[in-house]
Each structure stands twice: as C-alpha cells, then as structure tokens.
Amino acid sequence: MKTITTAAVLAVLVSGASWAEGIAPSKVSFDDGLVSASLTGVPGDPVNGRDVFKNRKLGNCLACHVNADMPEESFHGEVGPEMTGVADRWEEAELRGIVANSKMMFEGTIMPAFYIEEGYARPLEDFAGQSILTAQQVEDVVAYLMTLKED
C-alpha cells in the first residue's frame, strides 16, 4: 500500500495534476480479472461514486443496471444484472477489475471497459486516447458498489 501511495503522489507531482492521477490504464495488472491494488492509493469516495454511477457523461452504469439504491432516478436499464447486493457477491478486487475492464472477467461482454485508453477503434476525436473514467472515479465507483449490501 505504502509504495502505491508514494507512486501516486509522484504521479501527481510529475503531471502537475491537482489530484491523484493514479496508475496508467496500460499498467493496471489483472489477475484472473481481479485488480487487487488501488489505482490511486487514495480511498474511494462512495458519495462521488454514486454520482459516477448515474451520471450519463461519466459511468452511466444506470443505463444497463437496475439499482434499488436510486429510487429517485426514473430510468434504470436492464441490459446487465441488478446491482442490489452486488457487494455480497463480489470482493473489492473483483469489482475493481470489473469496472476497470470487464472484458477480463466476462468475455465478449457489452459492458464497456472504463479504464482503458487504447484498444478501441474509431473513437470520436474528443475521446481518443482517453479512458471513460479517471483512476479516482473508478476507485469512487468501486467504493460505492461496496456499500450495496443486502443485509
């Protein structure tokens, strides 16, 4: 954990960014679809993660997943499984892997990989070379998913 934190701090210093930029998408190491280490070393913020989940310009996870924790939202998609109790079914490292690149866990899935910056064809210019979410947004949404327990 210590080394990761140091690396994250270094990344901030090097890039001059105002918040932890985290490990580069291509450097994330997957082990059977799992990502054990935090991408930033900064604990995820579940409140922000909740926004990432529903925000159409960020995760837009709600486009495909029913989420009982968001009754205030009128439209929940049903392409993927419901999110209720997702933290009972998966460990944090598994959830991080699923959000960062679900194709590592679910071969051929429709679910986008949220933390890759290459390997997709014909991106619109504004999005070329970028991941859908930042490393910290991935951590935030994972922290949020960890709160979705049934009991």
Partner: protein, 278 residues
C-alpha cells in the same frame, strides 16, 4: 385539426412517450390495411428467429401517431415533397414531373433498395440526385437534408405495405458481406457493435430507451425528438456518436453497405415509410 395543432400535439406526445409502456403485441393497421410488422427471420440471420418492426417497441402514444396519416407528423413533409415534385429547378428547366408522369410509378422501388447498378451500390438518395445533377442540371440535395428526406419519404410511401426484398447475392454479395462485417464490428470509446444492442439486447431497456432490432423498413422516419424526418444514414450516425465512435460519412460506401445489410435483416417486413419514432 390544422397541421400546426397537430405538430403541437406531437410535441406533447414526445414528453409522454418515454414514460408509457410499449404494447409489444399490438398490430399495425393503416387505412384498413394490415401491415406485416413481424416475420420469420431470413435464413442468413443466425441469432434471431423473429424480426420485428421498431414500431413494436415504441410507446402506445407513439405507435398511435403512425396509425393515421392525418395524425402522422411526417405527412407535413410528404406534402412538401408533393410540391417539390412539380417544382422546376436547374439549367434544363425541368421538374421531376416533367419526366416522371406519376410518383405512384415508383411503387415497389423502396423494397429493392439499396441495389447494385453498374457495379455500384446505390441508395434512393443516389437515384434522386442522379436525376437532379445529370438530367435537370440542378444542385444535388444534401443526403439528410429536408428536401431529400421529404422526397425519399414520398417515393418510399408508394411502396408502403409491400415486403422488403433486397438482393444480397450476385454482384450485391460483396457489399452485403462488408455491411455484415460493419454490423458486428465494435467501435468507439464504448467499444460496441450494432449487434451488441440491436441483436443481443432488443426488447430490454437501456436507461430510458426500449431497444429495438434497429430495423430500417420505416425510413425516413419522423422523430419526436427532433420533429423532422431522419434519414437512415443519419440514424446510423447518431448511434455511432452515442457510443463515442467517429461516424462514417452519410452517403459513403460504409453506410450504404450497412444499409443493404440492415435492409436484408428486415426482409419480409412491410415498408412503413414514413414511420414515427421517439
């Protein structure tokens, strides 16, 4: 009811459209004629048994707008095309009606397009613009512009109710293969193919949208969302942008090939032009 009032009521329907449930078992009868909106999938489709019009997946309110030509807002534009038909344009001093006696003579044409002419894949827009540039000495219309979509709606309407029947063999085969490849290729930052949504997930909600099979038998289609007629290629472009993919060019080889492939996935469905969607 005046046309203006009609458009207003359509705008109200737009607000309601997403909230109301679809009636997936409804049948479409227009002017006393039953339209074929479900059919056995053509043999070349390996993963789908039954093909269905996009109308099936729309809300009851949106469905209703297409059942009566007076309620169907697309007919405002069909009326404009009837005027365009007689309008002289270009250096030759001709109108469409100077050479084509009656637009009804185009009955059946929509069912066969796109098709291969002299080794080239041509869509209806190409045929119309060929007359404008080669025979009238007029400027071509923009592929998805208002005059073009109005005219392709008027011409397509002459085939309404007839089954889609495009050729995919012979010299059409290489174009069809190319279209098929595009249909199954993932693109964009979201890295999805047309098939991910319209083949693997039709019938389910993707946020506020009820996913259809992405059929094109109703094009050009009037959308409540933008209150105008939308071309087939314009729709492809929209879907590509939604997955953050750089769209192909409207009227370009890729979209024409995709159009042929999609038309073939709707073989047997009735031409519904001009359809109404949200």
């Amino acid at each position: 009811m005046t046309r203006t009032r009609m458009l207003l009521s359509a705008a109200c329907a737009a607000l309601l459209a997403t909230g109301a449930q679809a009636d997936e078992n409804a049948n479409m009868v227009i002017d006393g004629t039953e339209m074929k909106i479900r059919a056995d999938a053509p043999a070349h489709m390996e993963n789908v048994d039954e093909i269905m019009s996009g109308w099936v997946f729309r809300s009851v309110e949106t469905q209703a707008l297409q059942l009566d030509d007076f309620d169907n807002p697309a007919f405002v534009f069909v009326d404009q095309a009837i005027d365009l038909w007689d309008k002289v344009d270009g250096s030759e001093g001709k109108a469409c009606s100077s050479c084509h006696e009656d637009v009804e003579d185009f009955a059946g044409l929509r069912t066969k397009l796109p098709r291969v002419d002299d080794g080239q894949l041509v869509s209806m827009e190409n045929l119309v613009n060929e007359c404008r540039t080669e025979r009238m000495g007029a400027e071509p219309w923009k592929w998805s512009g208002g005059q073009m979509t109005a005219m392709t709606a008027l011409i397509g309407l002459q085939s309404r109710g007839m089954p889609v029947d495009v050729a995919i063999d012979g010299d059409a085969a290489p174009f069809w293969e190319k279209g098929k490849e595009l249909y199954y290729t993932r693109v964009g930052q979201l890295d999805m193919s047309c098939s991910n949504c319209h083949e693997d997930n039709y019938g389910v909600m993707i946020r506020a949208d009820h996913l259809s099979q992405g059929q094109i038998n109703g094009f050009p289609t009037y959308r409540l969302k933008n209150a105008k007629l939308n071309s087939t290629h314009g729709r492809f472009k929209g879907c590509m942008k939604n997955i953050r993919a750089e769209p192909f060019k409207e009227g370009g080889d890729e979209f024409k090939a995709l159009e042929l492939y999609l038309a073939s996935r709707g073989s047997g469905l009735a031409v519904e032009t001009p359809s109404v969607r949200n």
